[in-house]
Symmetry: D2
Subunit: 386 residues, 4 copies
């Protein structure tokens, strides 16, 4: 599939591809499904469809001469968190918007798409449109994480699709050594990157080793079997408090049948747990506890980026807080609020997952979530000192 | 319209009328609308459609020989609060059930209706079916109160229908005197009543007077204008705490336009406030504060019932806590949980409202809600000692 | 002991007796003990010592010519809930007042006492001073209930005193029959009563029987042994929710030793549970569940008052919500807030307890607490229909 | 004053000095004062006195042959957060421990001191005792921060002492340039350091400049006057949410008199705000917003440590999350829980404050608190890129 990562030759085509991919993701869902919001951190699919459209309307079209908003009330409904753009509908109440209905949202998409296809021919808008496409790709992943969480909230445990993953072959875990020294970190420019990936800058590393693949379900089962969720010595203090408060006993979507066998809720419904697949839907706290149990640790985001390891199966928590790079400058204009204002209280994840859209994964990409988050496709990569 | 109150001659017809009336109430709503739950106290319209059906299935059909449940999972999803019938889906999460979808709920209704139309011919089931019909009528009112609350949660303030109430003529408030003495309270039997209306029993009253009509919007505006929401001397202690916590300044659905003029959100959208219509959507706390401001009080439920006043425009808070009548016995069987277990912490309302279905109003009817509830069509009747 | 109930002959003596009794109750406690506040519903002993003094200062002395407040800041610190007297220190933060220290509080008491002993000679102040004395007696009971709760919050389970109750003899439970009919309820005047006990008025009762004594610990143990705390069929809906949320398994202060034997925390420390003593520290919810388990019920407050049963060992929950009597008028002036504004959401208790001060018990007395309250000396009296 | 930092020659003397300094800090306080806990993050002074003693008893004495605990119940009461040492009294309830009383706590201190003075002669215990002394010094600062917060919770605003700070002279803010490059970070060994300061390791810096002194009250007033607390563009997202939720308008202890003049609550009571003194009691969020308003930023903890700037007047928030140094190893044994398990969700502060005890400040010291914390003596140092 043609991706959004290098679309300069044909921005119009890239725009159409990204936008239609979003709608393909929503296609298996009914209007009722698209309206679900199962917790404040998630959003209805319908809201994602509208918000990504509002982003193009606001960042690109609203600056064109003669602009008229598709509906002046949408700025209030579909602004996510941009303080500079005024007040907005409270996030935890996005699931209460039965109106505009799903058909009206699709009509809104079509109306903005028509205007945007013209805008794609304007070279001065290239950077802004590229940001909009990458923004929409981020919401493509959220559509999947959010509907998975919503369907898990239904005792019927409905399936989003019927394509269970094929069983994976066992892979030996090997340690890849790195001698440390000064490495270059961050995006070098040339094609699209988010502001938080810049500037490109040197970082000094100590020698270390990193695992050749993420931790598997089978390996994580051994941690559980060894009392991992009942032994505070492996846990960060905040993590142990969370284990107690929320009675964590396993990753988010793991289930037990009547015989105590483990299965797992997936986008294809309940499936047998594949011992060789990467463990998914663990928090940073669980990742840190697992690493402590093994006697190893997680890599820093700098070690991760310097390692050139195979990735993309699951987002990998790193042992790095989401702090700004030296010399960090936010995007100009409205997009200044895109990343920088979230740089506290979150941990960096690297890699990409089975839910990440094609072309959206790159080695310098900095994903970030609070340490307790579990509804993302997040797993564990080990590292150790040498 | 033929009502459910005396359907012995033709229970089948009564059944069909009540059931179809529920569906008529839901007809203006999309599947998305029907899934909304705007607070834990309310339920999605879809859930009301299913729960009332589950009630017939469980109370009537499940006792018939050869019964098979329409879907064995529905008992978990659509049981409201019957502990004796096992665990159930948590009430605050009813809005997360996009599946079964609305069409499936209607199919469920049709399937149960087919079986019930047979059951209606069985005279031994008459009492139980009558309970089911009165139960469904209660949910007909809740469909309206709950969708009104849900639509008010949407900044677009959508209308459920387009039939604004006609302006009302001013009515003089007159005081109807009652000499007190022993009066008979409660339902005498003969036709349907809930268990909480029984037994019929004598109560001794002191002389009193009761207002000829409920308090109007215009009268309530005078209370607000006189600082009613800022003067603790009129308020019960818990009520004053609630005013502070939730910043109450007016009844639930009152709005101010840019010029400070009052309008009100209704099932027909935002309308001008009719000064002569009864004030609606006030809590017991507000009713008590208003009464204190006038120097009068609310009637007890016994005074109310003894007064033979015109009613039915708005539910009227009484100054009576919802306690059992002397000799009260709950319904037998599953329905034992219908009313009795709620007899603490609630206040009695009498009368009926514009949202109460035809034939469901009677003088002995005891409605009840917690003193802070405002999303019901609840208003104020004044009384005073003589 | 001379009591406050009929002190007209010698108000000065009554004043001195009540005031010194309060200080005797505080005498076993250190300054540190007197500062404890273990939950928002309770107050530090020190605060009770000051608040009762502030009441005399505010209600009596502040109206005298030439009055100067002992300390102008005390009105803010020691006003409990009188909105008419201005803002006040938040109730949940009373335990943070290390200053004024306990010695300063006692000095405040002495200063007000000196002025009050003069005021006691002024016959026009008789009613107001009597109210102040009865008010102080209410706080005498609260001193005991609140320090008991505070000491129970300390894992060392300290004792307030060393006078464990003597074992009680078993008493047969007998049913006292009452034919019903019109009875006179409420205080007739003549000596002191709170406003909520008035007016004296007729109430019509149905025939009933009432138990000759409160439910004993041993009887309540049988309820527990029969699964009482695990069987929802006995519980009011709100009560059952509370059982789940707070994991209730027994009355508030019951303990189990390593062998599963039951003991109980008392003001004299941990003691063996006396099977023949009245069960104490149960909520209204537990009382109602116990009554339902026996097939009986609780009496209404009117049945209770009409029965002339022996009482005073434990406060007895009634099946009556705390509503105003017909024709109820609050005290005049500041004391208008004394009782009336709490007449919603609470249940009436009758009788009196081992913590009630001498002379403060009378048959018309209406105590009231929310249905979930357990830290008062509250027990269960059974009744049944005839 | 002789300090704990290099006491090898005379550990006994160091022990006595540190222990007596703690008691000097508590000396101005009554037993009632010493029992105050004004929020879950703080502890009563009495608890600090006991916990530091328990630490010596547990870490040193409990390992000696023939050890008997002073009171076996103290392990439950005075363990702070050591999971390996068993369950403990819940932190938010430390203020409910009127027993053991303050005299008993001092007796406990004396008993442990007697045993410890012997232990000080045992060279094998040197490292562990030094840890205990540094631990106690940390609690010396907490005694001051916690009593300040507790006294601020009392509307009388009592003073801990009567030694208001002398007015400070205005100091020009100058920028100290640093060329960047590889610098050595962390403690080199030789004398005491916490595990989180190690290992000593190289870090690569970009060129930067750092301010010669912390931000002053006067400078911070200009931020407020410019709408700093009302303009979201300066704030991190979580910080802005906190401003809204808690209505922040100024640093924690700032007050306004009737004329709107600013004063500040200090350990010496309410004092005029000194415009040239460092601003204190700001959160990381406020520090970041202030820095953004100036167009500068905060230094990283590495820039700070490399800068050799004058410090010690106020703890200085850095732009570094509290992550482990490369190769970090926790202390052995029980002390493994001392620092490492808190390495998530917190920000590093550097420097030391007016409340830090003598000898406890060093350039490699890593203090840490959550970004919303304001009750510490925390201020702002600016830095900028070159």
């Amino acid at each position: 599939m043609k991706t959004a990562a290098s679309p300069r030759n044909n921005l119009t085509e890239a725009y159409a591809l990204v936008r239609s991919h979003t709608e393909k993701l929503a296609a298996p869902l009914s209007a009722e499904d698209c309206a679900l919001q199962s917790m404040p951190d998630t959003s209805p699919v319908k809201w994602h469809l509208a918000h990504t459209t509002w982003f193009f309307e606001t960042v690109i079209l609203a600056k064109q001469p003669g602009f008229k908003p598709a509906d002046p009330r949408f700025a209030y409904l579909f602004n996510s968190y941009y303080e500079a753009l005024g007040p907005r509908h409270p996030r935890p109440r996005r699931g209460l918007l039965s109106r505009p209905n799903l058909d009206e949202i699709y009509a809104y998409r079509a109306q903005i798409d028509a205007a945007m296809l013209q805008a794609c021919g304007d070279a001065t808008l290239y950077e802004a449109i590229l940001l909009g496409l990458n923004h929409e790709q981020q919401h493509q992943e959220l559509i999947l994480t959010d509907i998975k969480h919503a369907f898990f909230s239904n005792p019927l445990l409905p399936a989003y699709r019927r394509e269970p993953a094929a069983p994976q072959a066992q892979q030996k875990l090997e340690w890849r050594r790195h001698d440390g020294g000064t490495v270059q970190i961050g995006h070098q420019g040339g094609d699209f990157a988010f502001d938080n990936e810049t500037p490109h800058h040197p970082v000094l590393l100590q020698p270390f080793a990193i695992a050749s693949r993420p931790v598997s379900n089978g390996e994580y089962q051994a941690f559980i079997a060894d009392g991992g969720y009942r032994r505070p010595e492996f846990w960060l203090s905040d993590g142990w408090a969370r284990v107690q408060e929320e009675n964590w006993e396993a990753p988010l979507y793991w289930l037990k049948d009547g015989d105590g066998n483990e299965s797992v809720f997936t986008l294809s419904g309940v499936q047998a747990l594949d011992p060789h697949a990467p463990v998914e839907h663990v928090s940073f706290y669980e990742a840190a506890a697992y690493a402590a149990w093994t006697g190893a640790r997680m890599p820093t985001e700098f070690e991760w980026e310097a390692s050139q390891i195979s990735h993309g199966a699951v987002w990998e928590w790193t042992r790095s807080s989401y702090d700004p790079y030296p010399g960090f400058k936010p995007f100009a204009g409205v997009a200044a609020e895109y990343n920088g204002k979230f740089m506290v209280g979150q941990m960096v994840l690297r890699g990409g997952s089975s839910a990440t859209p094609p072309g959206h994964i790159r080695a310098t990409y900095r994903n970030f979530f609070p340490p307790q988050a579990r509804w993302q496709f997040s797993g564990i990569r080990l590292a150790k000192d040498l």
